[in-house]
């Protein structure tokens, strides 16, 4: 899972304390399995070390939750690269694709570009499966069709989502 990239996207939309970041993540992407604080701070310290986020203010008191984090220019570049790069098609992509679409909208980028680059990546694999199916025996056909239908489902969901873009943009940007 791309917790690091999700944090960066959430921080690009606004600077947040560690606690707020965890809450925003859990609400949008947690699917009933909230992050542990350990994961949150381990991820943040990795992002700090790599110069992708910085501490933008510290409130008096102790404990890590006093710090407010902001994304750096290098962090924005990292989000940009991640969103622009299609995922390797597989049958369990839903979470990552969903995360990309939400973060693209949250940071004011369109979902249409994600759809287009993902479609071309999916089509690459789908063409290969189609070729294998055309040349193969019945077993090949059945197996390739299974993959083709599932890959098509990813894209149909992405297409529907891109079509609902405006609608969704209003709701995610809160």
């Amino acid at each position: 899972m791309s917790i690091g990239q999700a944090f960066l996207g959430l921080l690009e939309s606004q600077p947040r304390h560690g606690y707020d970041l965890k809450r925003a993540y859990d609400e949008r992407f947690g699917q009933g399995r909230p992050l542990h604080y350990g994961q949150v701070y381990a991820t943040l310290s990795r992002l700090l070390k790599n110069g992708l986020v910085e501490v933008d203010s510290v409130e008096p008191g102790d404990g890590p939750e006093r710090k407010r984090y902001a994304i750096t220019a290098a962090g924005v570049t990292d989000v940009e690269r991640w969103l622009g790069q299609p995922e390797k098609p597989d049958l369990h992509l839903q979470n990552t694709l969903y995360m990309k679409v939400v973060l693209a909208l949250l940071t004011g980028r369109g979902a249409a570009d994600i759809l287009d680059s993902q479609r071309s990546e999916h089509l690459r694999l789908m063409r290969e499966l189609t070729r294998r199916k055309t040349d193969g025996d019945l077993a090949d056909q059945l197996i390739c069709d299974y993959g083709l239908f599932h890959l098509e489902a990813d894209l149909r969901w992405l297409e529907l989502t891109a079509a609902r873009l405006d609608d969704l943009a209003g709701k995610v940007r809160r």
Binding site: D116, R119, L123, T130, L148, L151
Partner: protein, 229 residues
């Protein structure tokens, strides 16, 4: 002759409006000889309009279309329709076979229009029906065959005069998955064997997966990559 690298058909920066609706707003497409290009995009994005313009059926308001080095805009209507009849083939979603003719006569029709004698035209038509695995319905009329069989007859008719470009607009749109697969397998196989290029409009990715390359239309526009030299 065209080698593989040089596009056979090029539509460049096409614009087309119907009243206030801009169906095409700067769309481009290029197709190389023997290449299968899928045209994809949301409903109403301008896919069919792009196909109609590229095939010289509908004149664009602006933009240029060239086929094998010749400008379509510069041709007379007579020259353009001769080009369509000799060099292009067409398959649509439905309703393209002549109901009064048998399937065999339907497939032979383009040859007959081109002056080929009846026996010869029907002999060649029968060969195409066989290739598309519908030889058994040769003497039935379109109203007496299934949608999938009818589409295979339509593909045979579109390919019978060995066009260099086949334009297909949602050729599997009215078929179930099994028949859609069958039509696509036979269509692409026949096109590849006769080195016919295909412009395939479809919104189904599984259908587009039979192509070599895809062009995405969105709000009447395509990506700059379609604007080749």
């Amino acid at each position: 002759m065209n080698d593989r690298g040089v596009p056979l058909l090029v539509g460049r920066d096409l614009h087309k409006s119907y009243g206030p609706t801009a169906a095409l707003d700067g769309a481009s497409i290029h197709v190389r000889a023997g290449e299968i290009v899928a045209v994809m995009g949301p409903s109403g994005s301008g896919k069919s309009t792009l196909l109609h313009c590229a095939a010289g059926i509908v004149p664009p308001d602006s933009g240029r279309i060239s086929y094998d080095g010749r400008e379509l805009n510069a041709m007379s209507d007579v020259e353009r329709s001769a080009l369509r009849r000799r060099e292009f083939g067409f398959v649509f979603q439905f309703g393209q076979l002549v109901p009064e003719l048998t399937c065999l006569e339907n497939v032979a029709l383009p040859l007959r229009l081109d002056g080929v004698k009846r026996r010869e035209a029907e002999r060649r038509a029968a060969g195409w029906l066989d290739r598309l695995e519908v030889a058994d319905i040769a003497h039935q009329r379109p109203g007496e065959v299934s949608g999938g069989q009818g589409q295979r007859v339509a593909v045979a008719r579109a390919l019978v005069n060995r066009p260099r470009v086949l334009f297909a607009d949602e050729p599997t749109g009215a078929l179930d998955s099994l028949n859609g697969e069958r039509v696509m397998r036979l269509l692409t196989q026949a096109a590849r064997e006769s080195d016919t290029a295909v412009v395939l409009v479809t919104h189904e990715t599984r259908v587009a997966a039979y192509s070599d390359r895809e062009v995405v239309v969105r709000d009447g526009r395509t990506r700059d990559a379609e604007l080749v030299a």
